[in-house]
């Protein structure tokens, strides 16, 4: 299928892009296009103008800024996978992105596109939340920083407003933390039915700190804060972790669909959380 006709501009700087975004009512940003183009081809949306961010170098790449990693919104999944900085300081994001879609889509799809698209089954939101990421949003009035916890508003809805762009993601370094992303699917190449991202700091044999993010357990990615708290000070053993993870589905509101009903997803969340935490803790 072919999209409806649109105008196309490909600015080479952020300022030009913001101007182009403000140039009409029905303007849409295209990043990697891996979610947007299927939507346009199915004619679920038909914007008048597309602003392509693909030629803006300043939005691409991974760098360090003190105790944080900074990932440009237009950094592709495969650039993230190739980045030693991400592997070292934000291992959970690295592990989760390995599970996204397929190699072809990972060559095009971007971290920023995934976050702004905000599909509840998408694999980038929960790690961003668990890693306490901050998202930098630019608009006509300048820049603002939004905590991941305030970024996701609802299904496919984020804090990025009309005329605004996500420019980069800042992630506090989690150097030396173990990480694992446990994604449950029935067939290859599927969106998460449920997935859990866990990253833990183990001190000796004890869990000193833990962060857990849940994918597809509600209309936005969620943090399993009860589990995070219960894990602190516990030995990294099967029994102790199992007990702490029993609360994984607390406060969630998972969907019911052909892949499973809400109760089944709640059950999955506890099992996957246990697996993710144990693997992250190297137990």
């Amino acid at each position: 299928m072919i999209p409806a006709a649109f105008d196309y501009v490909a600015p080479t700087s952020l300022d030009e892009a913001l101007q182009a975004l403000g140039s009409g009512d029905d303007v849409k940003v295209i990043a990697g296009g891996q979610s947007l183009l299927p939507i346009l081809r199915m004619r679920l949306n038909a914007p008048e103008r597309l602003v392509d961010l693909g030629r803006i170098e300043e939005l691409r790449g991974v760098s360090e800024e003190g105790d944080s990693l900074v990932i440009g919104a237009m950094t592709t999944y495969s650039d993230v996978l190739d980045s030693d900085l991400v592997r070292q300081h934000a291992a959970l994001l690295h592990k989760a992105i390995r599970e996204v879609a397929d190699p072809q889509i990972r060559h095009r799809g971007t971290v920023g596109g995934a976050l702004v698209h905000a599909d509840p089954a998408g694999d980038v939101g929960a790690p961003a939340l668990a890693l306490d990421a901050e998202l930098v949003v630019a608009g006509p009035g300048g820049e603002r920083t939004v905590a991941a916890g305030d970024f996701f508003r609802d299904l496919f809805e984020t804090a990025v407003g009309e005329g605004e762009l996500l420019t980069r993601i800042r992630i506090p370094k989690h150097t030396g933390w173990g990480a694992h992303y446990e994604k449950f699917v029935r067939v290859a190449h599927q969106w998460s039915i449920v997935a859990v991202g866990a990253t833990v700091r183990v001190d000796g044999r004890t869990i000193a700190e833990a962060r857990v993010g849940l994918t597809n357990m509600g209309s936005t990615p969620l943090r399993a804060t009860a589990v995070e708290q219960a894990l602190v000070g516990k030995p990294a053993t099967e029994e102790a972790v199992r007990e702490a993870c029993a609360a994984a589905a607390e406060g969630t509101n998972p969907p019911s669909d052909l892949n499973g009903d809400a109760d089944y997803r709640r059950h999955l969340a506890t099992v996957l959380t246990r697996r993710a935490v144990l693997t992250a803790a190297g137990a």
Binding site: Y8, A10, G33, L37, M42, G54, P103, Q104, R108
Partner: protein, 158 residues
């Protein structure tokens, strides 16, 4: 219309395209490169896989205007000097196709898998071909062909 300049299979083209033209349609309809096929409407099947600046992409999910200034390689550009490229040669020898519809995309993705990892295990091959569907072969001989092309030992469990 937007003017684009693209290098495809080693030849430079400059053309006017509508911005909504998908790369796969530009290749097939404007350049006559019908070796690259369309197998689905959802970007799931991988039949349309080509390389953009040396990396595999689904050409049904890229706009032709996004390829402006870049280099595309299709299945038609793999052969050099009249010799089959090692991957299609191995597909031929291992009987890695039946109807053949998935084959151009499967081969282009297999080349990408081997670019990243010249000696992949069976599991790594299967993961690397995750975005390419074949409705005929059951994948077995495809995986075998990729291992053969990699120079891996023949006859191992693949």
């Amino acid at each position: 219309m937007t003017r684009i300049s693209v290098r495809v299979d080693g030849v430079d083209y400059t053309d006017e395209v509508e911005p909504r033209t998908l790369l796969v349609h530009y290749l097939r309809e404007q350049l006559g490169k019908t070796g690259t096929v369309v197998g689905c409407d959802t970007s799931n099947c991988g039949a349309c896989t080509v390389h953009l600046d040396g990396r595999s992409v689904k050409s049904c999910n890229v706009l032709a205007v996004q390829a402006d200034g870049h280099e595309v390689t299709t299945i038609e550009g793999l052969a050099t000097g009249g010799e089959l490229h090692p991957v299609p040669q191995a597909f031929h020898e291992c009987h890695a196709l039946q109807c053949g519809y998935c084959t151009p995309g499967m081969i282009m993705q297999a080349v990408d898998v081997l670019r990243e990892n010249p000696d992949p295990s069976e599991e790594e091959i299967r993961l690397g071909l995750e975005g390419n569907l074949c409705r005929c072969t059951g994948y077995h001989n495809i995986v075998r062909a990729v291992r053969q092309a990699a120079g891996a030992r023949e006859g191992a469990q693949a």
